[in-house]
Homo-oligomer: 444 residues x 2
Amino acid sequence: MSSRKISGFPEWLPEQRLVETHIVDQIRRVFELNGFIGIETRAVETLADLESKGETSKEVYVLERLQARKEGQISELSSRTLGLHFDLTVPLSRWIVQHSNDVVFPFRRYQIQKVWRGERPQEGRFREFRQADVDIVGNGELGFHHEVEVATVMLEALNALPIPRARMRVNNRKILQGACEVLGIVSVESVLRELDKLDKEAAATIWNNLAETGLTPTQVEGLQKLTEIVTDSPTELRQKIQATGLSSELLSQGTDELCALLEGVNQAVPGQVQAYLSLTRGLDYYTGSVYETFIQNFEHLGSICSGGRYDALARNGSRFYPGVGMSIGVSRLVSLVLSEPFARSSRATPSAVYVAVDSEETRGESNRVARELRQRGIPCEVSAKAAKYGKQIRAAEQRGIPFVWFPATSEVKDIRSGVQQAADATKWCPPESDWWPTVETSTS
Amino acid sequence: MSSRKISGFPEWLPEQRLVETHIVDQIRRVFELNGFIGIETRAVETLADLESKGETSKEVYVLERLQARKEGQISELSSRTLGLHFDLTVPLSRWIVQHSNDVVFPFRRYQIQKVWRGERPQEGRFREFRQADVDIVGNGELGFHHEVEVATVMLEALNALPIPRARMRVNNRKILQGACEVLGIVSVESVLRELDKLDKEAAATIWNNLAETGLTPTQVEGLQKLTEIVTDSPTELRQKIQATGLSSELLSQGTDELCALLEGVNQAVPGQVQAYLSLTRGLDYYTGSVYETFIQNFEHLGSICSGGRYDALARNGSRFYPGVGMSIGVSRLVSLVLSEPFARSSRATPSAVYVAVDSEETRGESNRVARELRQRGIPCEVSAKAAKYGKQIRAAEQRGIPFVWFPATSEVKDIRSGVQQAADATKWCPPESDWWPTVETSTS
């Protein structure tokens, strides 16, 4: 029997799972404080929906019934074939169309769920991981200010976590689109795809590639000047864009929005946002603001919170549902927090008290004490075995349980300090800090 | 575009999701009060593990990479093929062997997760649903008292939910096994399988079937007398078993355990447990107590909480890990609670306050009020649009948000009573009952 791990499918030990739960709870709290409504969608979508934005670049797992396979049936792929969702945006698009009469727009939703990607195992990426998404979806229209709001909420959520400071890079697709128009570039998609690599490959390679696809030196130079712009100041942003000499209505609208985004986010969460004009978010169908977020000193992990604005997050016939949303890669964050570690759980079990058992005959008495403690909300467990007290204390210690209760003498012992005192099971309480396991953080 | 529902994959609307979250939170709280440790396992297991107890009767979904399928590759089924887990017991067995050095035994774990079964859609069953399991797993040995404990914890969890009273039926495999031995029945498995149908089909059919498989009239009669026994009294249970005339060491050990189970559970949670000697739990590899639980007046839903004791929940070479556990069918319960309904959410959104906006120019002022409220833990959202107050109040009403805040005059209005008063965003609080959405129950 091997280790039984399956590469790409992370699992945490109990004390690690408590840290993960803490992280998810913190994120959820910020989402709910901001009035986002939690939904959960099924794990599967039809291929028609999974591929609704054209063939997806994400690897999809399709499902087949084992019995059918054993009977030699291999179903043909069709639009109705079921696959596991690879993100939480595709399910939202489908859900919005399905429930457009059940919700009030703009609809503010959050969703924290696992997603699956059928990556090849050797690539070492997660194939199962948890994401935490917020999106605001309008019916026909959606105010720009929501693009500020979503970025703010995500920074607030990240600031609530035991991680170093997050820095958000923002851009606006209208600037890139406008610049391409002004420069007479038609192949906008392939340009976006190339620019998306700017952070990963040498810039010179990108510019060469673009020249090879037929862009003129003027076109390449225009893009180069524009995408070099990095600033957290709206004033400087305007000046630098002006200095490129590129100008059009779309470009100027994008510039206004990007400046408003910097100002709005800075007002709510100072010093964590930066205009970064080479940011494109590849081929996703964004039409306004785009976002990526990096953790200080852990930039090599890549963006841990990304997203943007779609003018057509969903559509139903001629009806469009614009949306803006971002997604936190929760599993990647948990992985980071655990490996550093930036946080640990004070114990691995919920139990604050281990109730000793004198003999199997008096187990009922120990159970009664446990019931009384639980009735007052104190998590506890009864010793698995009647044994010498020393042995039972060691059992509690191994489990990280701070208190042992002795029903025979009605005494409770703090096994860390050794202090033992008389106690009434209908009145005694552990100190607040020992009541439930707590997550202790080493950052901030 | 059809309704986009996929049969067997339930999804809840936001206000229903809040009820589901409430139910899961209640269950989790009882589990944690009883010192159970939460783990989460990956959604997939290998076929080797999924079929580790022989070919499973549960329908399994296997995964295939879409790109591979498109390239015409159809992977051969092998022991390493991945499939979605169909319960939380198989993952636990695998996890225990993998982490036997990372945990302290007896290991008390709970797990609340979705599972998938590749049922044929026409059968109208859930193909994706949530289960809530507790198991206690020993290393080599496991005290009988844990069989009492698990049943008690599950009744406590069910009693915390907005459902009618649950009744648990219990039996002990040693009684059935012992009776078969005494009666000289060799084909115990097929007998168990037949007896399992006693609640679903006419008893006469079952006895006929057994006679046809070669059982003698004496054997059938013996089983019949035994399996007719239903009682919540340990004394009566002993008498009735004695009256069957069947007797052996195993049978008597099973009887002792079943009596102890009735007594122990009754002591902790009075009046909800009953010995029900036709209960077999089919082919699952139970070796001691077995349990099923029904909801009063909703017995037709079948058992909503079942399980039992395994002497080999897991094994690693010659090392056995006995376990006892039960599983609540959370999705089925949520379905029941929503359809009656036994509970509803006070509102569909977390927001307690809708902050009005006078004009897009003063949106920053509204944002500031919202930030102040959130800093004190009050969930709120800012109006999507600057509009006449009447329109903004209607927007809050549509969303079920009880309060509207007017930053221009620093006033807050309870839109249900119409009462409007001056308020300071750094001090005002909503009444406790309006702070977060609450789940109001109509049972108990």
